[in-house]
């Protein structure tokens, strides 16, 4: 159908959808008058049950841990899917491994200095976020993304990146796989030592608001952080390699 027809049909559909949403939202409780019971129960349970002061991490890695494992595997699969989709297709010129596998962008010295200065603190902040997941706002997901953001900062500032042909960078792959496998292994440890898959009580109780609290929750945080950082690093490496491929072909033609 033409573009005009599509827009008209969409306008009608959107009007209907808007009316339905207005009707549905009018049945929700007033903003600020939270009416559920589950949230109150979880907030009461967080400190006595597992000595975690961060109720959100307690929900994510203890009460709802199987759900988090599945979502983590969505991240895992998405990274693999991105690599698989951009892999070398039949009929495309194959890029042989050569010493020119290094991406050498030309950026100003000021940008290089800023990037180098920021890389260290960002990594430390990321590791801090991962380690303190059970105590203060933070956790595996946040820390993992900040760790991957360190890589973005480095590449944007002009670091030299070695990208092997048709494969994600080795360190990124190892971290990625280790994180995903680590989560499942910790779950199995819960099964072996405490009788339930992904139970966290086997690693001791600890005192609230210290690093060693919440049983196995800090370990699960580390596994998640590694996995998320590895996944985003793999995706970035794949996109950068595509970029190199496209510019390689442009330069070959100009030569």
């Amino acid at each position: 159908m033409s573009r005009q027809t599509r827009l008209v049909v969409f306008a009608l559909g959107a009007a209907g959808l808007g009316a339905l949403m207005a009707w549905a939202f009018s049945g929700l409780p007033e903003f600020g008058h939270y009416a559920g019971r589950y949230g109150r129960i979880v907030a009461q349970l967080a400190v006595p049950a597992r000595a975690t002061t961060n109720a959100v991490t307690f929900t994510n890695f203890d009460l709802r841990a199987v759900d988090t494992m599945v979502e983590e595997f969505i991240v895992f699969t998405a990274a693999i899917a991105a690599v698989a989709m951009l892999r070398h297709q039949r009929g495309e010129p194959k890029r042989a491994a050569s010493p020119d596998d290094v991406l050498k962008p030309k950026t100003s010295p000021a940008l290089l200095v800023v990037g180098a200065a920021l890389a260290g603190p960002t990594t430390v902040i990321a590791l801090n976020l991962i380690a303190h997941g059970a105590i203060t706002p933070g956790g595996g997901f946040q820390g993992g993304v900040v760790l991957a953001a360190t890589l973005v900062v480095l590449v944007a500032a002009g670091a030299r990146v070695r990208l092997p042909a048709d494969k994600p960078p080795l360190l990124a792959e190892i971290t990625h796989g280790l994180g995903a496998a680590g989560f499942v292994l910790l779950g199995l440890a819960g099964l072996v030592f405490a009788g339930a898959f992904l139970s966290t009580t086997w690693a001791g109780h600890g005192t609230p608001a210290t690093l060693l609290s919440g049983g196995a929750i800090p370990l699960l945080n580390v596994a998640t952080g590694l996995e998320v950082a590895g996944a985003i690093a793999v995706i970035l490496g794949e996109f950068l390699e595509q970029d190199m491929l496209a510019t390689d072909e442009t330069e070959e033609r100009d030569a």
């Binding site: 903003f31 600020g32 961060n54 959100v56 991490t57 976020l129 706002p137 933070g138 956790g139 997901f141 946040q142 993304v145 900040v146 991957a148 953001a149 973005v152 900062v153 944007a156 985003i232 995706i235 970035l236 996109f239 950068l240 595509q242 970029d243 491929l245 496209a246 510019t247 072909e249 442009t250 033609r253 100009d254």
Partner: protein
């Protein structure tokens, strides 16, 4: 609802509208970073620091980086096809 939350909600709606109505993908990448950061501030005002942390890093760094890389690859390929 406090005034801060009301102002941030309106800002998020305005940023989202601008993002959806911008045409050029390069501009959309920049506006998406702004939208992500406004969303992060709104989450912070709604007493959700964990979510705000995630959103600020993802919406401000990871997502615009991926969009820009995809755009760069498309542009490089188009330049190559234009030269042929």
């Amino acid at each position: 609802m406090t005034a801060v939350q009301a102002v941030l909600l309106v800002l998020v709606a305005v940023a989202g509208t601008l993002l959806a109505l911008t045409r050029e993908p390069l501009r959309q990448a920049i506006v998406s970073a702004i939208f992500g950061l406004t969303l992060g501030l709104l989450f912070f005002a709604l007493q959700a620091p964990d979510v705000a942390l995630s959103q600020i890093v993802v919406g401000g760094v990871a997502l615009p980086a991926m969009i820009l890389l995809a755009l760069a690859e498309v542009r490089a390929r188009e330049h190559r096809d234009d030269d042929e």
